[in-house]
């Protein structure tokens, strides 16, 4: 059974890695150029093919942490705590990627690395909130207490996701609106590349989650052997 699961994970990893390579090609060369005057702007626009899917994975990962937190509080089953931890760790890493790639995009697009507008500030807060989640886990010794605290924290922290998502619709932020915008946004020709990148990133997240869960189970195995000695 375990071998079958491992084979599935290896297959998923290989598929997602191949799709990430194809996504890289599409993002850098395959997708049509944006209709912008400056060459710097046109090149910088290609960042969005990876920037938005990275943000999507961050949001998805935090939703999984939220759902796993609910699962843990209902069942007290260790497997939910493992999923929540694994997903939060991946989500936090991807949110760091969103902040950095967004900042690099902002420099040629806005002329500054950072502005304290609602979307950017909320993204930074969200990153810090989940970094806090990971730090909190390290401070509680008792596994049951740690899992319970983390589940409650993970559920509460998820509030930041919908607020961050709708921030550019609620407030007049400097951050562009990619979908539902009257002006700007993605042309239909760019949509294929964009959605391909989105699927590739989602599969990549699933593969990383599988490996992270496997790692945590191995840690449990080590702890169990130690207890038996």
């Amino acid at each position: 059974m375990r071998q079958k699961k491992d084979t599935g994970l290896i297959g998923l990893t290989a598929l997602s890695a191949a799709m990430m390579m194809a996504a890289l090609y599409l993002a850098l060369a395959g997708a049509p150029e944006a209709n912008l005057k400056s060459e710097t702007g046109r090149l910088a626009q290609r960042i969005i093919y990876f920037h938005i899917p990275t943000a999507w994975v961050g949001f998805l990962a935090f939703f999984v942490t939220f759902a796993a937190g609910v699962g843990y509080l209902r069942t007290q089953a260790r497997r939910w705590d493992i999923v929540a931890l694994a997903s939060a760790e991946i989500g936090t890493a991807f949110m760091l990627g969103v902040l950095l790639s967004g900042s690099i995009w902002a420099r040629p697009a806005w002329g500054v690395w950072w502005v304290w507008d609602e979307r950017l500030t909320l993204s930074l807060i969200q990153f810090l909130v989940y970094a806090g989640y990971l730090m909190l886990r390290g401070t509680v010794e008792d596994p049951a207490r740690r899992a319970r605290f983390a589940a409650v924290y993970g559920i509460a922290a998820f509030v930041s996701v919908p607020i961050n998502f709708i921030a550019i619709r609620l407030w007049r932020t400097q951050h562009p609106l990619m979908f539902g915008a009257e002006k700007g946004g993605l042309s239909p020709e760019m949509m294929f590349a964009f959605f391909f990148c989105l699927i590739a990133f989602t599969l990549w997240y699933a593969a990383l989650l599988g490996h992270r869960i496997r790692l945590e189970r191995l840690r449990d195995e080590v702890e169990a052997v130690k207890q038996n000695m």
């Binding site: 993002a27 960042i47 990876f50 690099i104 990383l208």
Partner: protein, 47 residues
């Protein structure tokens, strides 16, 4: 061009960093598990 390269380099570095951290932690745990199992076997073989 520099900004594009920098953005993609950052995103790939984070992704590879994550994978590398998983691989390193997994190898450490596998090695630890092996040592523990050997110790248990030795312990059980002692009359």
């Amino acid at each position: 061009m520099g900004y594009l390269v920098a953005a993609y380099a950052v995103l790939w570095a984070i992704s590879f960093g994550l994978v590398l951290s998983l691989v390193v932690r997994q190898r450490r745990l596998e090695a630890e598990l092996e040592v523990l199992r050997q110790a248990m076997e030795e312990k059980s073989s002692v009359p």
